[in-house]
Amino acid sequence: MPEVLSAPLVVEFPFTRSLGPVQSAFLTGLRERTVLGVKTSRGQVLVPPVEYDPATAEEIRDLVEVAPTGTVTTWAWNPAPRRDQPLRTPFAWVLVRLDGADTALLHVLDAPGPDAVRTGMRVRVRWAAERAGAITDIACFEPYEGEPGAPAAPHDGRFADPVTGIVAPARLDYTYSPGRAPTDYLNALAERRTVGERCPSCRKVYVPPRGACPTCGIATAERVEVGPRGTVTTFCIVNIKARNLDIEVPYVYGHIALDGADLALHGRIGGIPYDQVRMGLRVEPVWTEGGRYPDHYRPTGEPDADYDAYKELI
């Protein structure tokens, strides 16, 4: 059996976050070397702060300042830091209850090894040299032997030039594999042939094949070569560029029912002015050297297909 194709797939986007009043004060505070929490109606101090009381659902807006020193409430050693983690050298993930707070904050502790870390140890904030209003303004925690910090004190949360939004870049690294049937289809395309699969039950020919019939729910295996010619069943003219699509507009996005296929595949229609493309247009693939798929489909010059001949395929 030929090897199933696979390829890296990276999905990444710089998401933005509107912070709202509480997170805005918290992150702006970090920029100013000030750790803020919120005080609930029952007198609990929550750090990091939340907007709504987990116990009573009340809206909380009473900000307090807590100390940059605290106690490790639990921890886990990370021997092999990964990309974008706060420290490049091995470190401990820690939950730290800051002096004056009743809840713990997740961060990292710079320590020489797991033997140097214990629950109950005293730590303090090591501020980042450059701060922008982000949780990384706390570079990490470090061991601390001095006096406990002052109790929580009210704070109005006001700072000059507050941070109201942040960018939260996200990146997911996948290994994408299309599976057995699409691999067969793609390998055939590399030889400039379009090969679908027929459902043994309903006899419909699926192009591209997925290895199973979505209607009958059974596996497909019988290979059927279709095309190369086909009929444009419907289309649109795209005049707007998608953010990650490197293609000149306008272009025609067509549904093409290849001769012998029981549903249309999607492709670009070219070799004809975009405003002359029509339903029923007969087309054939245009291949490029080394391409994984036809670059586009162009008119064959045949008369247009009769509507009745393809209306069931729309």
Partner: protein, 393 residues
């Protein structure tokens, strides 16, 4: 079969809350956004957080804000700590499906009073990006939802012989209706039919003014049973029928113009509600029309018009606010589209109509109204029918 015989608890909407939908709510976090809608729904129902037994939340795929499983972080904002909280996923139809899951929990007497909510904060991402992710080995061609649906609209125009002005008629109507809805995102006071028709083609045959906006917003409802309804300060909207149906995105024989799953879903709702002639028996419809041409398409799919005749109903003015079958009196998805919330807004606006609380966009004397949502590649459907009177039985 009567309600008593089926053993189901009658379900009613007793509270509705929406945010003012806008392009970007930069003043609130996602938590702050959902909180605003939920608080308004509770206030409408005369209830507080402690009166809620469970929370059912919906939103479109996580890619749309890039927060994985945001419902977990929203538990405290929605007073769900210590209570069951579930999330429903059905792409664009999710707001409708979410309301139905909440309604079913009451009908089954699992919970007495349920808060249901749906939201989207589209300003934190880019939906067109989220819907056009590249797939290895495939030619990148798809240009967002508009690029996906425009060919099906062209197929409808060919099949029905509709004149190509119908899409602009719908858009012009919905944008004018939105002017009467204080929560609608788009308030285009200077809208004219000519302006709609002169707007640029984005995905020919779909024009810019015939597409939905990108919105930040949330919608919440409080659902309860018979006992809860008796305590409600405002008139309830009773659920007379509700259904969901699904089908694959692509299969040989799929009718993209009028999907079978949509027809089956509507038929199920009508059967439950005892509706035999939807055109005559339903007073207002809030249907999911993200591209204006979907109004005539869904009019046919939902049985309000015969196949190929939906555009005639639109063209005749029947679907105008003062017509005999007003469609999207709120301004619809064409005027407001926080994607995950859009289906729930349809359901909530249908409920507002039969409660007589739709304000300036109230349909006079509306007694039965339908809420409709669809999602994915026209493959997920969710609908309900609400009435001013309790269901029989």
């Amino acid at each position: 079969m009567s309600r008593t015989a089926t053993g189901k608890e009658p379900v009613a909407v007793v509270g509705i809350g929406q945010t003012k939908h806008v392009a970007a709510r930069r003043d609130v976090s996602i938590a702050g956004l959902v909180r605003e809608a939920a608080r308004r729904a509770l206030d409408d129902a005369g209830l507080d957080w402690a009166d809620i037994d469970a929370v059912v939340i919906g939103k479109a795929p996580d890619f749309f804000e890039g927060v994985m499983m945001p419902e977990l972080y929203l538990a405290d904002a929605l007073g769900a700590v210590g209570k069951p909280m579930l999330r429903v996923h059905t792409a664009g139809s999710v707001g409708g499906s979410t309301a139905l899951v909440a309604a079913n929990l009451i009908a089954a007497r699992v919970h007495g009073t349920v808060l249901t909510l749906a939201f989207e904060k589209q300003s934190e991402s880019n939906a067109m990006w989220g819907l056009s992710l590249p797939v290895p080995f495939q030619q990148p061609l798809l240009a967002g939802a508009g690029g996906f649906f425009a060919p099906h609209i062209r197929a409808y125009m060919r099949r029905s012989g509709a004149p190509d002005t119908v899409g602009s008629v719908v858009a012009y109507k919905d944008r004018r209706n939105a002017l009467k809805n204080p929560y609608a995102h788009l308030h285009e006071h200077d809208i004219t039919l000519e302006k709609v028709q002169a707007s640029p083609m984005l995905w020919d045959p779909v024009r810019y003014s015939e597409t939905c906006p990108s919105s930040d917003g949330a919608c919440a409802m409080v659902l309860t049973g018979r006992a809860g309804t008796a305590r409600a300060p405002h008139p309830p909207a009773w659920v007379h029928g509700g259904a969901m149906r699904s089908e694959p995105t692509l299969f040989a024989g799929k009718d993209f113009v009028s999907p079978q799953a949509g027809k089956d879903c509507a038929a199920d709702v009508y059967r439950q509600a005892g509706i035999t002639d939807p055109r005559r028996e339903i007073d207002a419809v809030e249907m999911y029309v993200p591209f204006s041409w979907y109004e005539p398409m869904w009019l046919e799919n939902l049985g309000f018009a015969a196949e190929g005749e939906g555009w005639k109903l639109t063209e005749s003015g029947a679907t105008e606010l003062d017509g005999d079958l007003p469609v999207n009196p709120s301004g619809g998805v064409l005027s407001t589209n926080p994607i995950g919330a859009s289906g729930m807004i349809r359901f909530a606006e249908a409920a507002l109509q039969v409660r007589g609380q739709a304000g300036e966009h109230q349909v006079d004397g509306a007694r039965r109204a339908m809420g409709h949502a669809y999602g994915g590649g026209a493959q997920f459907f969710a609908m309900w029918l609400v009435g001013s009177e309790p269901p029989p039985g």
